[in-house]
């Protein structure tokens, strides 16, 4: 790596209708009118439909009950969605037929001029074997359990501060927004600190995440412009770390070696994009969904408050029942999958949250059982792409719920909830009325 980072691509990207020489290409021309409400999720599946995230468990149940293990859609130029645990598992384990080259479905597909597999744009999540293992092993040590455990006190202090900042609470009267005033601040603050980025830029990070994950039905050119903004921001941060070295994750990425050489500029930036995007609204969503559940289930709230040790199992049950992350793959070569004729470059969604509700694997799968002892949930994925940040996410989720429940032993839903749009599922607006304070 040179000492100066080249500026991000400044040229407007020419969109192509084929992958040749293109950074991004559209299989069918984008047309906003194609994206009306879904009438039948089996044949016209769209995870960005406004009604999907609010009703996802019902959608999955309907598809399973109608005997549809894999839904299809012509949207996004062709997309498949396996629903059963078995089908999700089969895609996740099959890295020959399904590439991770892009893991966020949108109208644009990465073209030949995009950083190709096996490296991909955001390694290692976008990498395929055998490169995947090399890129992943670089990032595993900083996220291993024993490296993450020491963050607990800081996360607890952050949660306490956020609760303090809610100001005076009048039980039975005060309404707080558990998503906006609490959940959304926790992961962004922690990953920003780990990367050594300015705390003042938190809102900007959330904007980047929103642009990447929640605007998939925007025109491709707009999305590319947003990605360029993100790249330019990160290049400036990386340059600042080169000029002023300090001990953090960015510095680690700048200095770690792969095959005796430092990482390329694209690899460093791509991995930071991954850490920033993947770590923020995923965990924020899990915290929000868990508090949403507790706000409507006084018995579980009381149990968690009175028997804090039940958290060992409750934490995993929150992750199973309200898993936030649906990943995606692209079909690498034409393949017949569970009777579906999948074509090269078709999208495949990987809804781990749907797999977690499959009654063939989980008893009473649609019931939240706070002390469920046997729980092989797939919230962090299955196979080689198991969420790199799972130990951090689990710690943030645990501490965030513990501190909220300790401070507010009783609270209830106090208005309309608004859900995210797209592959990450969680409440974005979550008004709760505080009924009791510690």
């Amino acid at each position: 790596m040179t000492d100066t980072i080249e500026p991000a691509v400044a040229e407007p990207l020419a969109l192509s209708d084929s992958p040749e020489n293109a950074i991004a290409w559209e299989r069918v021309p984008y047309n906003a009118a194609d994206y009306g409400p879904v009438s039948d999720f089996a044949t016209d599946f769209d995870h960005a439909d406004k009604a999907y995230n609010a009703n996802a468990p019902e959608v999955w149940k309907e598809l399973r009950d109608s005997g549809c293990p894999v839904a299809h859609s012509d949207r996004y130029g062709g997309m498949w969605t396996p629903i059963t645990h078995e089908a999700v598992n089969d895609v996740a384990y099959d890295t020959e037929n399904f590439t991770s080259r892009s893991v966020v479905v949108s109208h644009a597909r990465p073209g030949d001029a995009a950083i190709p597999a096996p490296i991909g744009v955001v390694p290692p999540i976008s990498s395929d074997p055998p490169f995947h293992n090399l890129a992943r092993r670089l990032l595993l040590p900083p996220f291993a359990p024993k490296q993450i455990e020491p963050w607990e006190d800081e996360i607890r202090a952050l949660c306490t501060r956020l609760l303090d900042e809610m100001g005076d609470i009048t039980p039975g009267d005060t309404i707080v927004d558990a998503a906006i005033q609490y959940a959304q601040h926790i992961p962004v603050n922690v990953i920003g600190r780990m990367l050594g980025f300015p705390e003042a830029d938190e809102a900007l990070f959330r904007e980047f995440v929103h642009n990447t994950l929640e605007t998939i039905n925007a025109p491709t050119a707009d999305r590319q412009e947003n990605f360029q903004k993100l790249d330019a921001y990160l290049d400036a941060q990386v340059q600042d770390h080169i000029d002023n070295p300090r001990e953090d994750l960015t510095d680690y990425l700048l200095n770690v070696e792969l095959g005796g050489e430092k990482l390329s500029q694209e690899h460093v930036r791509g991995s930071i994009v991954l850490l920033l995007i993947a770590g923020i609204d995923t965990t924020w969503s899990a915290i929000g969904s868990s508090l949403w559940h507790l706000a409507q289930t006084p018995a579980d709230l009381e149990r968690l408050h009175d028997e804090p040790e039940v958290m060992t199992f409750a934490l995993e049950e929150f992750l199973r029942a309200y898993a936030p992350v649906t990943m995606a793959r692209m079909v690498a070569k034409d393949v017949d999958f569970h009777g579906c004729p999948m074509k090269k470059d078709d999208w495949v969604l990987l809804p781990f949250p749907a797999a977690n509700r499959d009654p063939r694997v989980f008893e009473d799968a649609d019931q939240f059982i706070i002390d469920r002892e046997s729980n092989r949930h797939a919230a962090f994925g299955l196979g080689i792409h198991r969420c790199l940040g799972s130990n951090l996410a689990r710690l943030e989720l645990k501490v965030a719920i513990e501190e909220f429940v300790k401070r507010f032993p009783k609270f209830e839903l106090a208005g309309d909830v608004s859900w995210s749009v797209g592959q990450i599922r969680g409440p974005r607006v979550l008004p709760v009325r505080i009924l009791e304070t510690a």
């Binding site: 291993a144 002892e373 046997s374 729980n375 198991r386």
Partner: protein
């Protein structure tokens, strides 16, 4: 069911329970280490490591079962000999 015999406090147990870890299947979900740290450790990459030779003392049998039944990758198995 707790049964005492010969005046001891030992209940019935499977004298030869063993826990096995398939390191090829492990993806570092870290569930076993969280649920049964007496039987599993994790290495610097977050991958599970079996402590000892896999033999499980009676007081740890429940934890061994929990570790097995919470592994998303089915990397942990239990045998009784």
């Amino acid at each position: 069911m707790a049964v005492s015999w010969c005046g001891s406090n030992f209940g019935p147990y499977s004298p030869g329970m063993r826990v096995h870890l398939d390191v090829e299947k492990c993806q570092g979900h870290n569930r076993c280490y969280a649920l049964a740290p007496e039987l599993f450790d994790v290495d610097d990459y977050g991958q599970a490591v079996l402590l000892g030779d896999g033999s499980v003392t009676p007081d740890l049998e429940d934890k061994a079962r929990l570790a097995a039944s919470n592994c998303p990758e089915y990397a942990i198995t239990i045998t009784d000999s």
